[in-house]
């Protein structure tokens, strides 16, 4: 169980970020230290050798001036005054035999025999004698004197070693906070960097439990993760609108279908309760078929409206000559208008091309003409006009001399199943204008109505001619 959890932690981005961050931090600090250590130790050695060399030259000068005695006096003098750290001084005669060795006890820990046993030669050669324990090294430089004797001067590197020792101690004391700082810094960075992701995960969890309104808290930094959060929130907004729209329209469809279903059932039930009579039954059955056709038309129209309103309607865009579509709509209703003695005319340029779904546009215009004919009494007239307003927009107007719409009713005519007081006597579903508006809006257009009761109505459609902003 805890192993599993550990494994999960090990896989998290946060954990890896912490590791990387502190790792890089520690490695950089170590490299810096090693560089400093190497530099320090080499400069300590150089300083030591420089000291030895200066002393050697000094003593060699003494020797040249006053021989071995003068050298001894000088060494004694220096030792007594104690002003300089003590140097190893040895003078050897031919065959490398020691003639003078200053303060031999001081150098007891070094194997001085080695000096005597080595070949007697050359100038300024460096010899390194380790202590028996190996802690320090005695560095010795030698020079041949004029009388053939060999002068050797040396010094231990204890001073430098002590410095390096101290440096190492400081490093250890320094690395502990560095590691801690690396881990804390890594954690902090990972925590900060992953906060939007954690918010995202939290929000998704909340949404999974059914709370569609949850949103990811947006940061103020404007970085890539903020962009992600904003895009994600926008997407959630769209999805929520779509789901709510669907839910709403499903409710509406269910509600709107209940009444015609009731009529259907009622007709069948009445026929069953009546005396068995073939003619009555046939009549009832015909009613049932007609009613069910009406329900089907209604269902299809309601689905169309819902799809258009929620943006789920599939539009098949093509170049459409809207003038021809208007002619077709008028042609469809020509006989109906003639029967009703309503003049129906189109005035449009030969061609107005626009990108649209032809079937849907036919439906829009047919519905508007249908509507106009219904509410225009005999002797009236209906005029369809179309023109291009500019490069981007086509305008279609449908003007009738019908009963008009009362001002208080005007906004409601677009509603689902709304039927004005004067229109209740007319046959129809009450969905025509609602569908018109939804389809026009799905085409990124708009529709307006102005009307005067008793004089007539004017419907105006504004439609974009190019598909640039269409999905």
């Amino acid at each position: 169980m805890s192993l599993k959890r550990l494994d999960r932690v090990r896989r998290t981005i946060g954990f890896r970020l912490i590791l990387w961050y502190s790792g890089i931090f520690i490695v950089s600090a170590s490299i810096l230290f090693v560089l400093a250590y190497v530099l320090l130790s080499s400069s300590a050695e150089q300083k030591n050798r420089k000291d030895i060399h200066l002393k050697l030259e000094e003593y060699a000068a003494q020797y040249r001036a006053g021989g071995l005695e003068a050298l001894k006096n000088e060494v004694d003098l220096e030792e007594r005054s104690g002003k300089t750290a003590s140097f190893f001084v040895r003078v050897a005669g031919p065959q490398n035999r020691t003639l003078f060795l200053d303060d031999p006890e001081l150098w007891a820990e070094f194997d001085l025999k080695q000096l005597e046993s080595r070949p007697f030669k050359g100038n300024e050669q460096w010899v390194r004698l380790p202590t028996r324990g190996g802690d320090n090294t005695l560095e010795i430089e030698s020079t041949l004197l004029a009388d053939g004797a060999l002068l050797e001067v040396g010094k231990t590197n204890a001073e430098g070693q002590a410095l390096l020792e101290r440096f190492r101690e400081i490093f250890v004391g320094f690395m502990i906070p560095v590691v801690i700082l690396g881990l804390v810094g890594g954690w902090f960075l990972a925590y900060r960097a992953l906060r939007p992701i954690r918010n995202l995960v939290q929000t998704i969890r909340t949404i999974s439990t059914g709370q569609m309104s949850a949103r990811v808290p947006a940061g103020q930094t404007g970085d890539e993760l903020d962009d992600l959060v904003m895009l994600f929130n926008t997407m959630l907004g769209k999805i929520e609108a779509l789901i709510n729209g669907m839910r709403g329209s499903l409710d509406n469809v269910a509600h709107d279908l209940r009444t015609p279903m009731m009529r259907l059932r009622g007709t069948a039930e009445m026929a069953l309760r009546a005396e068995p009579d073939l003619e009555t039954c046939r009549e009832a059955l015909a009613d049932c078929v007609e009613e069910s056709d009406r329900i089907l038309t209604m269902l299809n129209t309601l689905m169309d409206i819902s799809e258009a309103e929620t943006g789920a309607m599939k539009l098949r865009f093509e170049e459409v000559n809207i003038s021809a579509v208007m002619e077709d709509a008028v042609e469809l209703y020509r006989h109906v208008a003639e029967e009703k003695e309503v003049a129906l005319r189109v005035a449009a340029p030969e061609e107005i091309f626009m990108t649209a779904d032809r079937n849907r546009m036919e439906q829009v215009l047919a519905n508007l003409v249908d509507n106009a004919i219904k509410y225009t009494p005999s002797g009236g007239r209906i005029d369809l006009e179309a023109f291009r307003r500019d490069e981007q927009q086509a305008v279609i107007t449908i003007k009738d001399t019908g009963i008009g719409i009362a001002p208080e009713e005007a906004p409601k005519i677009w509603d689902r199943l709304y039927r004005g007081d004067q229109s209740r006597s007319q046959r129809g579903l009450g969905l025509g204008l609602c569908l018109v508006k939804a389809v026009v809006q799905a085409h990124q257009g708009r529709i307006e109505v102005s009307s005067e009761p008793g004089v007539g109505s004017l419907f105006t459609l504004y439609l974009p001619t190019s598909s640039t902003d269409l999905p």
Partner: protein, 225 residues
Amino acid sequence: MRVLVIEDDDKIASFVTNGLKQAGFETSRAANGADGLRLALNDHYDVAVVDIMLPKLDGLGLIEELRRQQVNTPVIILSAKRSVDDRIKGLQTGGDDYLVKPFSFSELLARVQALLRRASHPGVESARLTVGDLSMNLLSRDVVRASEKLDLQAREYALLEYLMRNAGRVVSKTMILERVWGYSFDPQTNVVDVLVCRLRNKVDKNFTEKMIHTIRGVGYVLKKA
């Protein structure tokens, strides 16, 4: 004439097969796609009526397989999906016609008969249609009933031609709307009623024997007087 009905819903299947039997067809029925395919491959049928949503093998897969095996039985697809895309998909797969549920039986019957006609006389068409004492010259577009010339407008002529071609068979309002105007949706005002009424005035008004009949809830039929 033999019709194969492949439909899993028993009620719809019996409504279709009974109707076809009454119209003089011999029918077989399969309740799933696999059985349907077996029947269609091993036996000769003049038309197949295929539902899209079928158990075991769906309608589109079945049609595809039939066409792959060079079986060219005309197929009418039945589907609950009404979008243009679905329609196109069905026809591209190899269906010959597409009917959306719920459909009226007269429409299915008319489509079955149309497919049979297309299969039996490809390309050969008489220049004259005659039903009883009504005759139509398809070239001169003259329509005569009992030696009286009828003066018809374009849509009236189109409607009459359609009714005469389907003489004795009921055609639905949807079919007329599609044939005469090329509209595939339902206008709210019944434009078909109005057109039929006008045509009736010209064809039947001066005659005691009526030819155009309304079958309530179903459609219209033109019959010999």
